[in-house]
Symmetry: D3
Subunit: 246 residues, 6 copies
């Protein structure tokens, strides 16, 4: 099986991190191709950066989706997910979506735990957009400086474990480590957290495989049917083809 | 991987049906053991029958959960699911839960489509219990006689396809064929429905595999930690052991 | 009027306690018969124990419901309530349900106050199941050891009064002392709490009398009509009769 | 026990009707005093008329609440209920509130069935205000002329029974005949409706008795404590006393 | 343009305050007439006082609405708003409604910040009534004595700024200073609060102008059509005319 | 006052239409500059097209926001609105948002009425995103071919009036004509619809003026503070400046 892992952030170090975790989580026969946004923020944290990230997702799909059995959007609040799902013939999952829905099979309420308070509004909008507010015990964020996104997982490991404890005390049955820079940390600290601890990338990879195996048909009706062809303006040839042919 | 597939209905023909679909959906290396309730209704359709079904689930777990890497509750509104999740060290998924959460990765709103109007209240309570009412375009039920649960899938195939069409017109992006007696039908009629069509058993098997691979730890805190041992009364030795040791 | 008071817990001391409170709360002409679960936990606190409790409720109904004008389920989160309501021709109320709905006539938001943090998840699910989350200011629980369920009401009286004060500060207009082991305490400490304080047993008894007097007909349609007869397996003769004839 | 039954409508024929139904529903020892608004609409059907009705309720309380053990607001969407509950030391219930909360003990979802489409918006706001939208299968209204409020119950009995049938088909487990002019009709047609059928006046009387017997203390905290005394302007001496002393 | 500004409180000092702020906020060509309730509380803070305030609003409309292009209800939780909107041919806005809806165009979640904890329940009911609970980060109230409503804005300015800070920390993107006695304060302290700070009166004036310019027709259908004429009892000639002719 | 009106669609005929309506609706002293997306769909109708539209909004802001007192996003479901609100120092409103919030001051429930069923999912997501589902009676769409977006308003005027009638029957107190190609139609047919009929462009212009006059400060905290500067990649100089300086 071929999975395309899209990093809507421009930081290739983040791509490397999530690609490594993805390969470790995937079935042995799964191939993972990871690609990086050429435009936008090194690490998306706001609505404005997410607009650029979503546009980058479409461009990367246009260039790389061919041959993939399923696609993963590798940024936590899933920029461009609905758009990609409309356009493609194969399944697309987002990291946040996959982690939250997986968490719902492990407990009644999940918490999202992450490293920067600046992510909270965007993450919470993602919870609400998914209609999962009642299943979410909260978005728990560290509110302290960190050296950089490449080291934040190591640097803040102990503090994030502590924060998971607070989330559990607040009613969480499951914790999700949110944000691509934390990919891989869950595996290292899972035994220090008293409830199941999910890694967004690992959850997304397994869910992408699941969807690809289930092999759902492309919708030709409903809100995820492909948009009818229109005279689009200003698109690269590849992107135009994506809109015209999926 | 070993999966235990529990049929909370007393009908062994239903067990055979869902076991067959489960084996077809599972990864090649997955072993599936299917067991049948000894007490209760041939096919659960009401809250009262679900109480018996839930009790049967615990008894079957007591006798058969040993050695399983994950457990599937093979009746659509998931009787006994929360209880099983509290008691066991390994993941447990329900057919309805797995199908609905999988559907959420394929569209904005799903519909549950089934063969008997008598199932509607129980199924809708399951949707609400999962906090997914906003994601559900409705529970769509045939309201007409059928010969029996063993043949209803074949007998009503065309009518259920029609009903899926109505669900799509009402806003569904994905349809789920609900109810164990319909297991296997989705694969046969998927190309006649214009949106992704999910089989509850297939979804549950893949999600059980996914959870088993992710390998979440057993909660020692939160609402799915195992209950503290208590002096239980009137339990079979196996059930007592399940409550005492998981 | 004859009321059947079912204790889904196996502890007869709890039965004695709630029966005493029930008799004190009932109209002079009301007779109360109290029966105790033969199977399950001495005091239900988890989903798994509630599954056993719900099954016990059906068994006790099978043996004792005959001749009752209404039935009360005497455990706070109402195990087996929906099932009992389907099967019986006479009204059935649950302690939690009766207390919460009564509270809604005394204020805008109620709080449930109880003696053990282990009860919180089950109680909160009950609030949500009843669709009353918006009317509930929270489930407030002591988080400290107690000697045993027979003495917890006396032992923790002062601490529970304190906790009611915290609930009022958090927006509660009414407090409910939740959990059968606290039956009778409300009458003793009501004057120490600055808002109406409800006893679940007393509320349930008066609501059961109210329903019995209103004399609603048994539904023959809707989701609480009796289930159509089916070939049930493994049931005691009495339970079989309950499923077949109500 | 003494109950004060307040008719916020100015029509004495409606007062006579609801007083008769109230006396038939009450316990033998209960005395019912019924009083009629002096100002406002003969039959409240809009927000503007409800403002006058609520003001009338306070005036009638000022003149007549003395000596009552509980008070009933005898207009279906409960004008002035919250205000009365703040001011009085004894319990107050509204017809709609009492009927809806009673219905919640008889089924999962109730319907309100009434004789004029002009009542729908006000009734639905009442359902929402009570936080019971999830428990309500809808407000079902006849949309056809009627001779007058004194005869509408007789004139439309058959049509309302029919409408109850539609409500049941739409998911109602219980029907409530809403609106004071329909008081008494439920008793006459209950056997023609396949689910429990509630009379708002009867439900309110029994709930008022229940609350009076439970004897909750007057809140001195929370949102239903009495307002602190203020220099009120333009009030009758009795109304001033009500605000000052309850 | 002529705006009628109704103060449902009896305090003329409050009228003067809000009229001053209204004139400062209005377009140069807008005329503002301010009138004061003759009956009720100097400053409405409870449901009971709001009933009197709503009745006063109708009386003031009866006497003064003639010639107005739009009407403002100048008490924060908008007593009588729905009733006024039914009766009048011109637009009516409430201070709370206008401020909250304006806030929704400046951020995701707003907070209401006010000077007395006694206002919290009434304000929160207003948020819920408007269906805006999901957009509201909370009602934040000082819980400390103040000298009087005429001076509370000056006296508590610093404390309210502090409270806005707490609201922002709790997730508010916008703060609203709620309560007519705080009118005008926002302009003075806006630069001390790190998010947009709204004055209810200023927002209401601009929204009233906006609605008057948009010039929506009076509804002749839907729930805000004028009530059909009825034989009203006990009304002043002016109020009778308002009900009969708008 | 200077307003910037952004058309996220690439069709200049749509720009001309909305600019004309905007100028007619604006105060005499207001200047309106209208700009058109260079990239994307002639008329946005899907999530994928909205991603391109949102990116175009940011590019147009980068080039044209300078000097504007407020900005209007002139496509109905408000692509890029949150992003624009984060980045700019001046207020930004969306057509859908402005129309819906204005409608909330004219009635209890609004309906969105539009010309193509393909718009329904995107519009409904916008209603839900704004947390206004409880205030919305539905999105009502024609389901029939039309010649083109330039003529659809004229061609379908009578059919849309009819659809408004259906929306009113379904509970709408206010109707909104949704979609930029319908701009201007409301003024022509308002007298044929029995409730207030809103034009999204006119509402947005007046709300933009209102916000500009209220002059809220730019948030320096909360979720609409400007994102902290980051090393962005692949942006035009103007867009980079927008991210860096607003």
């Amino acid at each position: 099986m071929n999975l395309l892992l899209i990093n809507p952030n421009t930081s290739t170090s983040v791509t490397d991190r999530i690609a490594g975790v993805a390969r470790a989580a995937a079935a042995p026969s799964t191939e993972i191709r990871a690609v990086t946004a050429r435009t936008g923020a090194p690490y998306i944290a706001t609505r404005a950066e997410a607009v650029l990230g979503a546009a980058s997702v479409l461009e990367l799909l246009a260039d790389h989706a061919n041959g993939a059995d399923a696609v993963i959007i590798g940024a936590f609040a899933d920029p461009g997910l609905g758009a990609a799902r409309e356009l493609l013939r194969v399944p697309v999952v987002g990291m946040a979506e996959a982690a939250m829905l997986t968490a719902c099979m492990l407990g009644r309420r999940f918490a999202i735990v992450t490293f920067s308070v600046s992510l909270e509004p965007w993450y919470w909008e993602c919870v609400e957009y998914n209609g999962l507010a009642r299943r979410c015990a909260g978005v728990f964020c560290l509110d302290e400086p960190f050296s950089g996104i490449d080291d934040v997982a190591d640097e803040k490991a102990a503090r994030l474990v502590e924060l998971c404890g607070r989330a559990v005390a607040a009613g969480a049955d499951v914790c999700i480590l949110g944000g691509a820079p934390l990919a891989g940390l869950a595996a290292q600290v899972a035994d220090q957290v008293p409830v199941p601890l999910l890694d967004g990338v690992a959850a997304a990879v397994r869910q992408a495989e699941t969807l690809a195996v289930l092999g759902p048909r492309k919708a030709t009706a409903g809100s995820f049917r492909r948009p009818a062809p229109k005279p689009m303006t200003g698109l690269s040839p590849a992107l135009r083809r994506l809109f015209e042919e999926g």
